[in-house]
C-alpha cells in the first residue's frame, strides 16, 4: 500500500521509459522505522524532486538507492529486473551516480583529473593527461560549460555551482542512467542555482533519470517534473508538476489534499493530522 500514483501520470509528456523502481521499501534501524513501505518509480528523462522535512526518510531512501544502505525489506528493480546494491560501487556499476552535498570533488586536483578520477585514461602504464583534458573540455562544452575557466586548473578555484556542474557532467559523460543529487542548491546563490538547474535539465534531456532531494519548495517547482513527498518515512504524495503554486505544494504536504489524493486517514500517522491542524 502506498500513496496514489495515477496511471495518466506515468504517461507524462516527454518522459522516457521506466528505469528504476523501488517497491515496498522498508528500512529499520533497530526499533526505529525510517522508511515504511515506500514505492517510487523513476523514468529516464525526468527530474523528480523529493521533498519532505528533516526525518522524513528522504536521505535514508537516497542512501538505499545509491547502495550505501540496504533495505530491510522491499526490492529494487532496474528495467524490470530485480537488483541488489550491496555498496555504492554496485549502484554506480548499475548506472546510479550520486552527488553528495560535499560534492565529491578533490579541491587540490585539476578539473580534468577530477573528472576522470577512478576511471583514468591511460597510455600504456601512464596517465594520458592530454586526452583527459581534451575529453573533459569536450564534455563540459556539451552540457553548456564551455567557458569554464581552465581545465588544468584546481577545482578549489571554482564556484559551488561550477563544481556541481562538473559532478553532473561526470555522470553524463560516463553514461550513468540515474543521477541523484542531495540538496544540490542548498549552498548556492540564486544565479548559481538557476545554472545548476540548467545542468540538471541538460542531464535529463540526455536521457538520465534525475532525482533531486530538496527542501526549498520554491526551487523544486522550477526544476522538478514530478514531486514525491515523504512524511515520517512514508510517501504521502507523488504528483506531476503542473505548475502548482508553492502553497499548493505545502498543502500537498500538510493539508486535506492528502485525502483528495486518496490517502486514507488511517494510513497517515496521527502526528501529521496534528501538524496539519495546528499549521
Amino acid at each position: 500500500m502506498s500513496a496514489p500514483t495515477t496511471n495518466d501520470e506515468q504517461e507524462h509528456a516527454a518522459r522516457g521509459p521506466l528505469w528504476l523502481e523501488a517497491r515496498s521499501i522498508t528500512k529499520q534501524f533497530g526499533a526505529v522505522i525510517a522508511l515504511s513501505d515506500v514505492d517510487v518509480s523513476f523514468s529516464l528523462g525526468e527530474v523528480v524532486g523529493l521533498i519532505g522535512d528533516n526525518g522524513s526518510g528522504k536521505s535514508t531512501f537516497v542512501k538505499i538507492l545509491s547502495g550505501v544502505y540496504q533495505a530491510s525489506s522491499g526490492s529494487l528493480l532496474v528495467e524490470g529486473k530485480p537488483v541488489r546494491f550491496h555498496s555504492a560501487a554496485d549502484a554506480r556499476a548499475m548506472g546510479v551516480e550520486t552527488v553528495h552535498q560535499d560534492l565529491g570533488l578533490v579541491d587540490s586536483m585539476s578539473i580534468a583529473r577530477n573528472f576522470f578520477l577512478g576511471a583514468e585514461r591511460r597510455k600504456g602504464p601512464f596517465l594520458d593527461l592530454k586526452r583527459m583534458e581534451r575529453e573533459t573540455s569536450a564534455m563540459l562544452r556539451e552540457i553548456g560549460l564551455g567557458n569554464l575557466r581552465a581545465i588544468g586548473q584546481d577545482v578549489s578555484r571554482l564556484s559551488g555551482g561550477e563544481r556541481q556542474a562538473i559532478s553532473i557532467g561526470r555522470a553524463v559523460a560516463f553514461q550513468r542512467k540515474m543521477l541523484i543529487l542531495d540538496e544540490p542548491t542548498s549552498a548556492l546563490s540564486i544565479q548559481e542555482t538557476e545554472k545548476v538547474f540548467e545542468f540538471m535539465r541538460a542531464a535529463r534531456d540526455r536521457g538520465l533519470a534525475v532525482l533531486a532531494v530538496m527542501h526549498n519548495l520554491t526551487q523544486v517547482r522550477d526544476v522538478a517534473d514530478r514531486f514525491v513527498v515523504f512524511y515520517h518515512g512514508r510517501k504521502i504524495a507523488d504528483i506531476v508538476n503542473t505548475g502548482q503554486s508553492e502553497q499548493d505544494l505545502a498543502h500537498y504536504i500538510i493539508e486535506g489534499k492528502l485525502a483528495e489524493m486518496g490517502i486514507e486517514r488511517e494510513q497517515v500517522d496521527m502526528g501529521v493530522i496534528r501538524a496539519i491542524t495546528t499549521e
Binding site: 596517465l127 564551455g146 553514461q175
Partner: protein
C-alpha cells in the same frame, strides 16, 4: 598490486570512451525533436575550440614555470647557492663540493622520497629513523657474519616493507591517525634495535663487498654512487606520482579521501601501498648508509623522520596532504643539505644549522601558502 585496481576501472574507461564518441548520436532522436542544434550524425564531440579552456595550459614557458608551486623554493635554493658561493670565496660552487653535498644528502633524500610521497597521501611516518637503523643493523650483522650481502640487502628491504605494511595496517584498518600509529612503532622499533644489538656498533671490515660499493662507494673525487640511487629512485617514484593512476590516487586520497572513495578509488590499498613504499625506502637508505660508512649503529638515522618531513615541507608538500611534487621533495632535501655544507664552508659555526633550518621551514611554508593562494586561488 595495482593490476586488479586498474583492471576494475577498465569497464568505466571503455564505456565512457564510447560515451564521448556516441553521445551525440545516442541521444540524437531526442535532440533532433527538441533542439536540432547538436551536430550531425556521429558528431558527438564538437571541434576543439574553447580558448578559455586552454588558457591555463598555454602561456610562455616562463609564465608556466612561475606558476609552479616549486618555483619559489627553487628560487630560494638559487639565492642560498649564490650567498654561499660568495661567502665561501669560491669553494662552495665547485664540483667536488656538490658531489659531497649530493652524497651526504642521498640517504636523507631517499628517506624523504618515501616520506614526501606518503605526506601527499595525507599521512606521516615517524618510524622511518628506527626502521632505517633496524633494517640496516640486521643487514650489517648478516654481512658481518658472512652471509652474502645480497641476502642482507633483501632482508633489509623485507624488514622495511614489513614495517611499512604494519604502519599501513595499523593506520588504515585500526583507523588510528598515522602520526600516532607511527609514533608508536617508532618507539617500538627503536627499543627492538637496542634489545637486539645491545647498543653496539657493527663494523664491516675490508675488503668491502662489491654490493656495498655499488650502493655507496666512491664514483668520483667526492661523489658516491648513492647520489645516483637517490636521483634514480626520485625519478622512478616521481613518474609513479605524477604520471600513473596510482599517483593520481595518492593525490586524490590526500586531497579528499571521501571524494576518492566515492569515485571508486581503491583507497585502503593505495594508502597501505604508500606506507609500504615509505618503509621500504627508509630501509634501503639504511643499507646505503651502511655501504657509505661501513658501519651501523642503533642511533644512526634517528633524526631522519623530522628532517625528511622538513625536506618535504620545504619542498612544498602540504602537511594536510594532496599537494606536493617530487621535484619539490628533492629540492627541499638539497636545500637542507646545502645549508649544512654551506654554513661550514662559509666559516659559520655549524651550531647555527638548526636555527637556519627552522627559519627556512617557516619562510618556505609561508611562501608556498602565498603562491598557492595566487596560483590555486585557495587554501593550500
Amino acid at each position: 598490486m595495482c593490476e586488479a585496481a586498474e583492471g576494475s576501472t577498465t569497464g568505466n574507461r571503455g564505456s565512457s570512451e564510447v560515451s564521448l564518441r556516441t553521445m551525440g548520436s545516442g541521444f540524437r532522436s531526442r535532440e533532433a525533436s527538441s533542439a536540432p542544434t547538436s551536430g550531425g550524425p556521429g558528431g558527438g564531440v564538437v571541434a576543439p575550440e574553447a580558448p578559455a579552456l586552454s588558457r591555463w595550459g598555454s602561456g610562455s614557458p616562463l609564465t608556466r614555470l612561475v606558476r609552479q608551486r616549486e618555483f619559489g623554493i627553487i628560487a630560494v635554493g638559487v639565492v642560498l647557492f649564490a650567498v654561499f658561493s660568495l661567502a665561501s670565496s669560491g669553494t662552495f660552487d665547485s664540483f667536488q663540493t656538490w658531489g659531497g653535498i649530493g652524497s651526504s644528502a642521498a640517504e636523507l633524500g631517499i628517506v624523504s622520497v618515501g616520506v614526501g610521497f606518503l605526506m601527499i597521501s595525507g599521512e606521516f611516518d615517524l618510524s622511518v629513523g628506527a626502521n632505517f637503523a633496524f633494517a640496516a643493523l640486521v643487514m650489517a650483522t648478516m654481512v658481518h657474519d658472512g652471509y652474502p650481502p645480497i641476502e642482507g640487502l633483501l632482508v633489509d628491504l623485507g624488514i622495511g616493507i614489513g614495517i611499512g605494511l604494519l604502519n599501513g595496517i595499523v593506520t588504515v584498518f585500526l583507523n588510528i591517525p598515522s602520526f600516532i600509529a607511527t609514533l608508536g612503532t617508532y618507539f617500538l622499533w627503536s627499543a627492538v634495535v637496542l634489545i637486539v644489538t645491545g647498543g653496539t656498533t657493527i663494523t664491516i671490515l675490508p675488503p668491502t663487498p662489491t654490493l656495498l660499493n655499488v650502493l655507496g662507494g666512491f664514483i668520483g673525487d667526492q661523489m658516491r654512487s648513492e647520489i645516483l640511487w637517490w636521483l634514480g629512485i626520485a625519478l622512478v617514484v616521481g613518474v609513479v606520482l605524477h604520471r600513473t593512476v596510482t599517483g593520481n590516487w595518492i593525490y586524490a586520497i590526500g586531497g579528499k579521501r571521501m571524494a576518492a572513495r566515492e569515485a571508486g578509488v581503491a583507497v585502503a590499498r593505495t594508502r597501505v601501498l604508500a606506507f609500504v613504499l615509505c618503509g621500504m625506502l627508509a630501509a634501503f637508505a639504511g643499507a646505503v648508509q651502511l655501504a657509505h660508512l661501513g658501519s651501523m649503529s642503533a642511533g644512526y638515522g634517528s633524526a631522519y623522520q623530522l628532517e625528511a618531513i622538513a625536506a618535504s615541507v620545504v619542498g612544498g608538500c602540504a602537511l594536510t596532504g594532496g599537494r606536493g611534487s617530487m621535484v619539490g621533495i628533492v629540492v627541499g632535501t638539497v636545500i637542507l643539505q646545502m645549508l649544512a655544507s654551506g654554513l661550514i664552508l662559509s666559516g659559520v659555526s655549524p651550531y647555527w644549522y638548526q636555527a637556519v633550518v627552522g627559519i627556512i621551514i617557516i619562510v618556505a611554508v609561508a611562501m608556498h601558502t602565498r603562491i598557492g593562494a595566487v596560483v590555486h586561488g585557495a587554501e593550500s
